[in-house]
């Protein structure tokens, strides 16, 4: 009997011109989003190649450039492309160098139209449109009484209808995914491994789970209402708040709890640290004067002056090391705060199923903020690993070093000069000492494991909503 109800719902929609138009529209939207992603990915790949070349060229013994490439499945979720792509690692820690480039276009800042977006926003709306009147319409038409007059259990009617609705919704979803996948394959911009196709299959399942949530919600709301229009209104309010407003305005609540860390703050703090460690030349002048005035033999004075200079340089080198450690700590602190803000703006909006879907999918394929988090962790690991070899290489290339800061002071015909800090511009890192940086996104299986919590939450929500719907429907007044 359940199958019969399911088939009835499916057939009813398949014969309806309005639904078919909507399905084609959704498939077109998937196609358009794929087209946009392909264009953006082509651009991102070219930029990545340039970044890699310039990283090779710009890396020296003071800082190594680490480049985060575009995600190989960026058509699924393009979020995170605006997070820093270039990091530097060196004695001064790991720094994200995001803002040194001027904004390229006046058009930036628009939300990406990727697969997750189309599913989360458009497909959920379609799910509401097909299922808001699953109970009320049958009642309004009077057919519900006739159906229940037959020896049919109420639950099998509801379960059958839900299954039929899901089958109905899978049609445009799968059609859209198929259209998108064909375009991705034909474009030649993405290189999909067979494993990636399996990942896309998992994504289709997750999207189906997400749509089940909306169908279950519709069932519950529909069995709470007497009229279709009322049920639709409730559902639309829910959709607008949880799918449209919450995800796009996610940063607000997080900013209220804790203001986002600003890059200029980081720059200012580092500049402050650098300023604190400038050589106090007037002190040196006093010391030189004391040495010169205390002796009369020029040779003795010179020896004393040399000793003085060595002392100053050694002390300053120690200070420079301390300063670099402090700067590294500042960068690490800001990286931590940045990640925490990303996490916070996610956590505060996780009540939105659309955000939950994005979070789960990003975890499965390691994209977006998740990708950035892993990349930053890898960069910190790399920085710790190369700090020894970098020092070694600096010793090896001591002859090519140039003074970054030098000071000079003179009194009574004697001059004293020192270089506390050396830089190695243009000295490319020795490959035998310094390993190349490699960042590999974890496999999808590991990602799936970390996404299990989110998936379970979504599934439990679906189950609860559907159970509540069943409970209400069992007591529904069918007249």
């Amino acid at each position: 009997m359940t199958g019969l109800f399911a088939w009835k719902v499916l057939r009813q929609f398949l014969l309806e011109a309005k639904f078919l138009t909507a399905a084609v529209l959704v498939a077109l939207l998937f196609g358009l989003s794929t087209l946009i992603s392909i264009g953006q990915h082509r651009h991102a790949l070219a930029e990545h190649q340039r970044d890699l070349a310039s990283a090779e060229e710009r890396s020296d013994l003071d800082r190594l450039w680490l480049i985060r490439g575009p995600h190989p499945l960026s058509f699924v979720t393009g979020a995170g492309g605006e997070l820093p792509r270039r990091l530097t690692a060196g004695p001064r820690g790991v720094e994200a160098t995001g803002s040194e480039e001027a904004p390229r276009t006046f058009l930036a800042g628009v939300e990406g139209l990727d697969w997750v977006y189309v599913t989360a926003v458009v497909m959920s709306l379609l799910a509401i449109f097909v299922s808001y009147d699953v109970v009320t319409r049958e009642r309004e038409d009077g057919t519900l009484r006739l159906i229940l007059a037959q020896p049919v259990r109420r639950s099998s009617f509801l379960i059958g209808s839900v299954l039929g609705l899901l089958a109905t919704l899978l049609l445009p979803l799968l059609l859209g995914l198929l259209v998108g996948l064909v375009m991705v394959q034909l474009s030649g911009v993405y290189e999909l491994a067979p494993r990636d196709l399996a990942v896309v299959g998992v994504l289709a399942l997750l999207s189906a789970l997400y749509l089940t949530f909306f169908v279950s919600l519709s069932v519950l709301v529909s069995s709470l209402c007497r009229y279709s229009a009322t049920a639709l209104l409730w559902l639309i309010f829910f959709w607008v708040v949880f799918v449209v407003v919450l995800p796009s305005d996610g940063g607000v609540l997080a900013s209220l709890i804790e203001p986002p860390p600003q890059h200029w703050e980081e720059i200012n703090q580092v500049a402050q640290l650098e300023a604190n460690y400038q050589a106090p030349i007037s002190d040196y002048y006093d010391q030189v004067r004391r040495v010169v005035e205390s002796g009369s033999d020029p040779a003795v004075i010179q020896v004393n002056l040399d000793r003085l200079r060595d002392g100053i340089v050694a002390e300053q080198a120690k200070k420079v090391r301390q300063r670099d450690q402090l700067i590294a700590a500042v960068h690490a602190e800001f990286a931590r705060r940045r990640l925490r803000h990303l996490e916070l703006s996610r956590t505060t909006t996780l009540v939105s199923p659309a955000v939950l879907l994005r979070e789960v999918i990003e975890r499965v394929i390691t994209a977006g903020p998740e990708d950035f988090r892993q990349f930053v962790a890898a960069a910190h690991g790399y920085q710790r690993a190369v700090s020894g070899p970098l020092a070694e290489a600096q010793r090896r290339h001591a002859s090519e070093a140039q003074p970054r800061v030098s000071w000079v002071t003179a009194y009574g015909g004697y001059t004293l000069t020192g270089v506390p800090e050396w830089v190695y511009p243009g000295v490319s890192p020795d490959r035998d000492l310094i390993p190349a940086f490699g960042y590999r996104r974890p496999r999808a299986a590991a990602g799936l494991l970390s996404a299990l919590g989110g998936i379970a939450a979504l599934a439990v929500l679906c189950g609860l909503l559907f159970a509540a719907g069943l409970y209400r429907f069992a007591r529904y007044d069918v007249r």
């Binding site: 953006q40 995170g80 628009v110 709306l125 229009a229 009322t230």
Partner: protein, 428 residues
């Protein structure tokens, strides 16, 4: 008669669940977003004042003419809270070093890819929520009446169809304006108490124009609801149709149009190796290099602006985008204002260059050598870096096309609704 019909619609709307839900949604979102923005505004103001002070100290401390750097700071204005526009994506400070360095843009949006500015402002809440409220309060006005049979009875009492339509429109608009007025009052109250007395006459005028634009924008969706209501038989169907149009026009179309344009009109590769120029003293005595860099940047900016104009034209198909452009122009946060800021910076930079040249010829010793001579630099005739301001009249002229677009859409929908309603069946 129209007035009577309007009052009836207003009264019947005020007691419904959807009215209550809409009002709560609108007022809550407006209050929450404005509170956050007001806090953010204080932070911005503190930062601006600190920056201005630091720039002055820097000027006084400069010991060589090459160290004289002018900073064009973007002053936060209370009117910015109407619509954050492009935010500080184009920086808060433009540092001008004349002949010794290319202008540098600093501050503003965090390089860490976080939301450096908060996008939920007055215009955002109006654009997203007020339009929806307008739709929800008007989608069943005609087909609902038809289903209940009251439409037939009203027409029997000698009222013309146009009067009925007008009455329904005004009633729906009035019931949209009730929660909107509450939201605006709350918004103004927060601005008033957080704004530290910055609410001057010009700001008030800008706010007033923004409110008028919001009403025009909301009214479009009232007409949309009436039109779908006249076109369909069941209220649920007209709601679905209206929501589909709303989703396309407000949520999907504007960003998609921008992305389509950015792909179909790609910008050229950045012609200068900017990283090379980040080195200090990259331009020392290389004025031809500086000229080339400035020319290349100017060319790039012109092409980016052309791309933006093309996107703007396409995006204006959605009333949401037109409303957004108009309000951000009022708020002084749109792309054109930033372009004007960059142009002003360019002019100041030119003036600074010729000033530096004069000073260097007069006093060559103090051009580059940083000495601790106690005699300060001669800063007479130094050009002043000032952010260009735009009088209200020019802003109004600028937003005229968008305002006209909103008005025209209202009229168009009125005519279409009347045409459909005149021919429509009055019985179910």
């Amino acid at each position: 008669m129209v007035k009577l019909l309007m009052e009836k619609e207003l009264r019947s709307n005020l007691l419904t669940f959807k009215f209550l839900g809409s009002a709560v949604l609108l007022v809550t979102l407006m209050t929450a977003s404005t509170l956050v923005l007001a806090l953010d505004w204080h932070r911005r103001m503190d930062l601006y004042q600190a920056n201005v002070k630091r720039a002055q100290q820097e000027l006084q401390r400069a010991t060589a003419y090459a160290d004289v750097i002018l900073r064009l700071e973007r002053q936060p204005r209370l009117a910015n809270l109407i619509n954050q526009g492009v935010g500080d994506r184009f920086g808060t400070t433009i540092a001008l070093a004349g002949r010794y360095d290319a202008p540098r843009v600093t501050g503003g949006t965090d390089g860490g890819g976080l939301q450096g500015f908060i996008a939920v402002d007055f215009a955002h809440v109006v654009g997203l929520i007020l339009s929806l409220v307008a739709l929800v309060l008007s989608y069943d006005l005609i087909n609902g009446d038809r289903a209940q049979g009251t439409l037939q009875l009203t027409l029997a009492s000698g009222v013309s169809r146009f009067e009925i339509l007008l009455g329904k429109y005004l009633g729906a608009l009035a019931s949209v304006l009730v929660p909107f007025a509450a939201a605006v009052l709350i918004w103004l109250a927060i601005l008033r108490f957080q704004g530290q007395g910055e609410l001057d006459g010009a700001t008030w005028a800008r706010v007033a124009v923004a409110v008028v634009l919001s009403v025009l924008f909301g009214s479009i969706f009232v007409w949309m609801g009436l039109l779908t209501s006249a076109l369909t038989d069941r209220p649920a169907t007209s709601l679905i149709l209206g929501l589909l149009i709303w989703t396309l026009a407000v949520v999907i179309f504007p960003p998609t149009a921008a992305q389509v344009i950015s792909l179909s009109r790609p910008l050229p590769e950045s012609p200068v190796e900017e990283a090379e120029l980040q080195k200090p003293d990259a331009f020392l005595h290389k004025e031809d290099l500086l000229d080339r860099v400035l020319a290349a940047r100017g060319q790039f900016a012109r092409e980016a602006l052309d791309q933006f104009r093309a996107a703007q034209t396409l995006m204006r198909l959605s009333p949401f985008a037109a409303y957004d452009f108009a309000t951000s122009a009022l708020a002084g946060t749109d792309v054109d204002r930033h372009v004007a800021r960059f142009a002003a910076a360019r002019r100041t930079d030119e003036a600074l260059r010729s000033w530096q040249k004069r000073q260097a010829e007069r006093d060559p010793q103090r051009e580059l050598v940083r000495s601790n001579l106690s005699v300060g630099l001669d800063l007479a005739g130094l050009p002043e870096a000032r952010e260009p301001s735009e009088p209200l009249g020019r802003t109004l002229r600028r937003i005229l096309p968008d305002a006209a677009l909103l008005l025209a859409l209202n009229l168009l929908l009125l005519i279409a609704t009347q045409a459909v309603f005149r021919r429509s069946e009055i019985r179910l």
